[in-house]
């Protein structure tokens, strides 16, 4: 078709498409490039000092808090999400009323903006349960936020496990529970892992929900019941104070590097999950 004369409509469509793709690339690469270009020269050793002071605005305590926050949120959400996915994938009848309600609820949760989670966490964990602004309140709030993500990816991973695995297990005399824990869940593990990594990305990037639940204390917290800021919150505070623009650039670089690492890990896990399924199912 390209051999003949090219009609103007096709030409215009192609031009517009290429322009749009170029614009999207420019926006993404431009932003990352801009921040890396400005930020990398501004990274100094004092930014990684163990103790935070208002002079060095070290991000180490925030990093420690981020790791703690992520671990806690996963500790709550992953078992819960995986067990819920087992119910949806292995036990429930398709289209029953219970399943419809559960699915509607998890879709609603997935659409709620993080600021609403933050406000709920503030009203429920911080005020009603009297936990105060604390790491624990933040972790519980975030675990609700990532629950639908983990449920969905775990359910998809379980559904991708070929039925013959289960049939083999039943044929050997295993019960349903044993089949779930010894056969279905291990086979689905790579897929579940991919979901968990996505969830880590969300926790690391979250700020609005945490400001209202975990607060913005800059020092490292020794206790779960104390306030502490994660990397993203730390960066928001630095930029809104406006006194440490250089350090904000550097912190942004570290955050972007973190996200890039998480993305690489996640696509690796997804590839592994795909291979596990096709390799196992196809023989």
């Amino acid at each position: 078709m390209r051999r003949g004369r090219i009609d103007p409509v096709s030409l215009a469509l192609r031009a517009v498409t290429y322009l749009a793709a170029a614009a999207a690339m420019a926006a993404g690469l431009g932003m990352v490039g801009f921040i890396l270009f400005k930020g990398i020269p501004r990274i100094t050793p004092s930014l990684f000092a163990w103790r935070y002071t208002s002079e060095n605005v070290s991000m180490t305590p925030a990093m420690v808090n981020t790791v703690m926050m992520t671990a806690m949120a996963l500790l709550i959400a992953v078992p819960l999400g995986a067990l819920a996915a087992v119910y949806l994938a292995e036990y429930a009848r398709r289209g029953s009323r219970v399943v419809r309600i559960i699915r509607m609820a998890s879709e609603t949760l997935a659409g709620i903006p993080s600021i609403v989670y933050g406000l709920f966490g503030f009203l429920f964990f911080v005020v009603a349960l009297k936990w105060g602004l604390s790491m624990l309140a933040g972790a519980f709030t975030l675990s609700i936020m990532i629950l639908p993500l983990i449920m969905r990816t775990a359910e998809e991973a379980l559904l991708a496990v070929p039925d013959m695995y289960r049939e083999g297990s039943f044929a050997l005399g295993a019960g349903r529970v044993r089949t779930v824990f010894r056969v279905a869940l291990p086979a689905a593990a790579p897929g579940i892992l991919a979901g968990v990594i996505l969830a880590i990305g969300r926790v690391v990037g979250e700020s609005a929900a945490l400001i209202l639940t975990a607060g913005t204390a800059a020092r490292a917290t020794g206790s779960l019941m104390k306030s502490g800021r994660t990397m993203a919150v730390h960066m928001y505070n630095l930029s809104s104070e406006g006194m440490h623009i250089d350090q904000t650039y550097a912190t942004a670089v570290v955050l972007i590097a973190l996200v890039a690492a998480i993305n690489a890990l996640s696509s690796w896990a997804a590839r592994k999950a795909e291979r596990a399924m096709t390799g196992g199912g196809g023989g």
Binding site: T17, A20, A84, I102, S239
Partner: protein
């Protein structure tokens, strides 16, 4: 079955114990699955219980249509923020949707495999970058540029551009999947009838992917209206109805984060009322999404 009576009894005991475990675990799984229903219930209950009394006290009409938000003088009109959220979201759609859908068409039908391996990770990276980083980029790059070109810094315009960029990955990923899901035979039929590659994609494959693309747009709208931190950093946050595209604006989300820290009593409850309004918007968007998806499933 014809074993000794002892082994039979053992077997029966084992089966009974096992079935007790089976039943118990089944209930455990069901409870885990119901946690998300419980969470939705709790979120609704806490927002409504804390927000509705304040709305009633202020007066629903005054709350929704009042033009001035001055907590110091007990004026709680949220119209500026509602209009602000809608303006900024509309702006994000204008900026992000055409670029996003066209980029999705490019990724699904125009770009070669090797180029795809370069483009796709960039989109994933954009999806993963935290909103504070977007906001900071907007603050140090987009706002100064807007000030130089249009004479106005933080405004509806800068917020729209930034949000337009932020919804790109959502719009692109979901539309791309929708365009890829269209059977190749549609495109091939068009080309066989003499259509060019571009006409085949845009007049045949893309219309067939309409419901998926609509879902992508609705998801993008949801992301834009709920975005908080990035908007705070580029929108100016004046609690007045924006007079034009170059004036500052405050969204519902921004209002909550900016004032929640020091608000008390009716002020705090009015902020929760803002979250209720936002929640209603999100529920409407979810309804729209399932309507769009349902329509796609039927055709």
């Amino acid at each position: 079955m014809s074993g000794q009576s002892g082994t039979n009894a053992d077997l029966a005991l084992g089966v009974r114990a096992r079935s007790a475990v089976e039943t118990a675990m089944r209930i455990v799984f069901l409870i885990a699955a119901c946690v998300c229903v419980l969470c939705v219930g709790l979120i609704c209950a806490f927002l409504l219980a804390n927000g509705l009394p304040a709305i009633a006290e202020i007066g629903p009409l005054k709350f929704l249509l009042g033009l001035s938000w001055k907590p110091g003088r007990n004026l709680y009109g949220t119209a500026p923020m509602i209009v602000g959220s809608l303006f900024v979201t509309a702006g994000a759609v204008v900026v992000g949707v055409p670029i996003g859908v066209l980029t999705a068409a490019y990724m699904a039908r125009f770009c070669g495999k090797r180029l795809y391996r370069l483009v796709s990770p960039v989109i994933s990276l954009m999806a993963g970058i935290p909103s504070v980083v977007y906001g900071f980029f907007g603050m140090v790059a987009i706002v100064p540029a807007a000030r130089a070109w249009f004479g106005a810094g933080k405004s509806v315009l800068t917020a729209s551009i930034l949000l337009g960029i932020m919804i790109l990955p959502t719009v692109i990923r979901v539309s791309e999947a929708a365009i890829r899901a269209v059977p190749d035979s549609y495109y091939e039929g068009a080309v066989a009838l003499g259509a060019s590659h571009e006409r085949g994609v845009f007049f045949c494959a893309l219309p067939a992917a309409k419901s998926g693309v609509m879902a992508a747009i609705v998801l993008g709208i949801g992301r834009a209206i709920g975005e908080t931190m990035a908007v705070i950093m580029v929108a100016g946050n004046q609690a007045v109805v924006p007079s034009g595209i170059l004036s500052g604006v405050r969204t519902l989300t921004a209002n909550i984060v900016l004032e929640m820290g020091y608000a008390a009593d009716l002020h705090r409850e009015a902020l929760i009322g803002c979250a209720v309004v936002l929640f209603v918007f999100i529920l409407l968007i979810n309804l729209l999404l399932s309507a769009v998806k349902g329509k796609g499933a039927r055709t």
